[in-house]
Chain length 370, copies 2
DNA sequence: AAGGTAACTGAATCTAGGG
DNA sequence: GCCCTAGATTCAGTTACCT
């Protein structure tokens, strides 16, 4: 995959490239509402050495040796709010954000993103199967990190590939705790000396689950703390476009090389289980129009209720009439009802759900769309 | 255990009683630096909107109590800072605090307690083995809650019973993620109508681990959001003193009755924690934590030796103590011993090997690894 | 009595799209 | 924007009831 651009208004989007410099500045230089997902792995360390910059590129005062806890938190909070603000501007209305952190910083990040108007969807715990032990025996083994998944605002229509994740999880819906090993062995990038290239490289498995779950192929994923580019590498594999931002030249170099050597999975393997919601909607009236059921025919439910089909595709039962859903709900005293699975007709002595008729229509539509 | 007081300066400490009224006022009326541990389960500020129905159309019984309603984050933050301040004043210099919450509130609580000068020691994730699913398939199953463990200040000499917790976990140091079932079945307290007495009762197994890990017998444990008194019940079982604060008279009544019926290490606690976990290796500590065997119960071997179960899942016999395996080996003068088949407990006059308890746990786990 | 099935439940920020 | 309707969606239990 080569670097390319998508235009949005007057500004081009530098897809599949790594931008250098301060992430807040760089984000503010990109066109607003242009990114589908942001994955952020911000610095955890609160003992900042004065390398924080505001959006206007002014330097945040250093936390020197005499730093006091409150000042330090205040500086970190300002930095956090600044990059969260820049990130929010970049996101499309239905975009979403992931942030990962530990107890040192995640509470401040979480509070800040709520304050900035993001809407938390889940907190997800990465449960490390092979964490570093607590050598001094003074605390619990720090065996997890926390991720926050948030939409740009309350009510936004975020992407969530529920069925795909359920399939990943042996048919059971994915939980908010993910058991995954840390990044080591051959996956861990090394520099020329054989030392680890980056102190906090995240496992690709983590990004895999994030991107499969909350993006679609072709989406634009931005990582403002790109490091050695795990986000970009997995995005490329999965057929998503990425934008990385990283200040350190050494990390950028490693990331460039790493990503260049990756080839995306072929398109067909990127297809994931589709939700039923994505199927075209079929009005029950079509079933009648096509003569698959005739006006006057009786439908029955498993619970023994019955209703008669009318010419306009509505049902009439005992003192109730309306759509297949409305009549089902009323007869059951339920808040709602899926008439397609509730109602059955008789064929050769057997009860068949009317949903099979809908499926017939859908199959025909698939053969010759429009 | 009857209500008694310890004097600290001029003011008495109302041990093993439930105070009524606002927790901040009540805490401020107690003598400063008098409490060893505070366990707090504050309102989560869930912000639920409409009704939620299961796919079978049954309605989910939401936590919509008045005490969980706050007008804004600002109001919630003020409330949080106020009770954290009062709690800090109450703690002894080497005291510690636990808070539990969900993503709705825990980030705000965590940031606030850092701002108030508490020093976070760990965040601990309670991974629920049987959480409520996400019925609409729009998010990840909300399968965990987060606890923050913090000392009163940086550098404080907090209590941490590393060896006891390690023993509870069969010789491996305790991690920051705990797999425990939610509070249901016989453990769940019901009111006269058979409805749950409190919407958010916590499992005793959770408190067991907290108190064994971060207090010593005779310590004073305060819970400012006492509810139906799980903290007090477990504290009493484990020989710790408690102070509860609760505004709602109905909850206080249930808690009083509940705690009165508890005797330290009594058999009645057996039905309190029928826990399940999901690790292939079953530590004997789990058997104790789950209440399948109680601290103080005697185990016997076929050869006539005996030993007593301790709260941390170790045994104590004649001049020997340690794991079920170590104690068995020492008593037999053998190089090793399988404690699971060596030790037996009495049920209905018969000797039953403790291995059947492990098998019970494994059977429960078999269907859902992790 | 034992065994099998149906009903019920849990700290939940739980829809999408057309008119 | 709002309003209305179609119609999609659950896991690990425990308790109650039936044969």
């Amino acid at each position: 995959m080569t670097a390319m651009t998508k235009t949005k208004g007057a500004t081009a989007l530098p897809l599949n490239t790594i931008l250098s410099g301060d992430c807040i500045e760089q984000m503010n230089a990109l066109p607003e509402a242009s990114v589908d997902l942001i994955f952020a792995d911000p610095p955890y360390n609160l003992q900042l050495k004065g390398d924080l910059h505001r959006p206007d590129n002014s330097r945040v005062d250093a936390v020197d040796d005499h730093w006091d806890q409150f000042d330090s938190f205040a500086v970190y909070d300002r930095f956090t709010r600044d990059w969260l603000k820049a990130a929010k501007r970049l996101l499309k209305p239905n975009g979403a954000l992931w942030v990962i952190g530990s107890y040192h910083n995640i509470f401040r990040v979480g509070a800040a993103l709520q304050d900035e108007g993001y809407w938390i969807l889940n907190d997800v715990v990465w449960r490390k199967s092979n964490p570093m032990p607590n050598f001094r025996g003074k605390r619990f083994t720090n065996a997890h990190e926390t991720m926050i998944w948030a939409s740009k605002s309350e009510g936004a229509k975020y992407t969530f590939n529920y069925e795909a994740l359920k399939a990943l999880n042996e048919g059971v819906q994915m939980r908010s705790d993910w058991v995954l090993p840390i990044c080591n062995g051959g996956e861990r990038l090394k520099d020329a000396n054989g030392d680890k290239a980056h102190p906090t490289q995240k496992p690709a498995s983590l990004l895999h689950r994030v991107l499969v779950g909350s993006t679609n192929p072709g989406d634009v994923v931005l990582d403002p703390f790109f490091g050695t580019g795990t986000t970009g590498a997995v995005a490329k594999m999965l057929g998503r476009d990425f934008i990385g931002i990283e200040r350190e030249a050494a990390y950028r170099e490693v990331a460039e090389k790493r990503i260049a050597s990756i080839r995306p999975f072929d398109r067909s393997s990127l297809e994931v289980t589709r939700a039923k919601r994505a199927e075209p909607r079929v009005p029950f009236g079509q079933v009648v129009e096509r003569g698959m059921l005739n006006p006057g025919e009786m439908l029955v439910s498993s619970s023994g209720k019955s209703a008669k089909v009318r010419a306009d595709g509505t049902l009439i039962g005992d003192e109730v009439k309306g759509s297949i859903h409305q009549v089902g709900a009323q007869l059951e005293g339920a808040p709602s009802c899926n008439g397609w699975t509730y109602w059955h007709f008789k064929r050769e002595g057997k009860l068949v759900p009317i949903d099979v008729l809908r499926q017939q229509i859908r199959d025909e539509m698939a053969d010759r769309p429009n």
